[in-house]
């Protein structure tokens, strides 16, 4: 479940990055649809956070330690919303580029999470 979720989020994050990157390329700010996309990705990371914590509560352990695992879960959760807020303040192509960068960062975090959990 956790691994499937990690892979799904990586894919969704890269798709979001490509989508917002395309908007930046076309010189457009982030629009409602982009924010819906960000909401979907964020929702997935919330589910991941909950599943991860439930797993820990059930007594399973992350390969590289609980602290690191939980901080990466929190980082993954915060990543896209924060870049989304930045794009709200910057209504140009550069706001879109920031969300695109946020998607890439999230994808990298997911790869690390996979290793930390011990996929």
């Amino acid at each position: 479940m956790l691994d499937a979720l990690t892979i799904a989020i990586s894919a969704a994050a890269l798709a979001l990055a490509a989508w917002c990157g395309f908007a930046a390329y076309r010189d457009q700010p982030t629009k409602d649809w982009h924010f819906i996309g960000m909401a979907v990705v964020t929702l997935l990371t919330v589910v991941q956070l909950i599943v991860g914590i439930v797993r820990l509560a059930q007594g399973q352990e992350a390969d590289q330690g609980t602290t690191i695992f939980v901080s990466y879960l929190l980082g993954a959760f915060a990543c896209v919303p924060v870049s989304g807020f930045l794009s709200l303040a910057e209504r140009t192509r550069w706001g879109s580029a920031t969300v695109a960068a946020g998607g890439v960062v999230l994808a990298v975090l997911e790869v690390r999470l996979y290793d930390i959990w011990g996929g």
């Binding site: 980082g75 924060v82 930045l86 303040a89 910057e90 550069w94 920031t98 960068a101």
Partner: protein, 153 residues
Amino acid sequence: MATPEKAGESGSGGEAAEAPRRRNRLISGPGTLLLWVYGVMVVGAVSRSAVQISTEFDHAPLAYSLSALAGLVYGFITYSLVRGGEKARRAALVCCVAELVGVLTVGTWTLADKAAFPDATVWSDYGMGYLFIPVLLPLTALWWLRRPRPDAD
């Protein structure tokens, strides 16, 4: 996240009420992206070194201290970018030079004397573990901050 209103409020006192006199913003346009990447590096470097120093400092004291130092430098530059204004721009510029020198020094050091680094730092091998962002970031920031803003007060 500094909204324009916030940036204007701090420091300019009473006259801000009538005509919002803002510090020239350093995070408009491409600066937003720069701020985001610096923010990510702050969280990355600070939390990483905090965990490593608190749990296994003796394993690689030099590496972990250097990571913490990198985190501090990133933190200061991020703060300067958010704060805005000519003074902050100059301060950030100096820190970017320090950052670049740091990355190049530590990068060379880790390659030359691997024995001194049982574990990696943020700046090991010129930041290879971070997709070379530690080396590219100061260059980008130096370019972005290279001259005073036209609307400087």
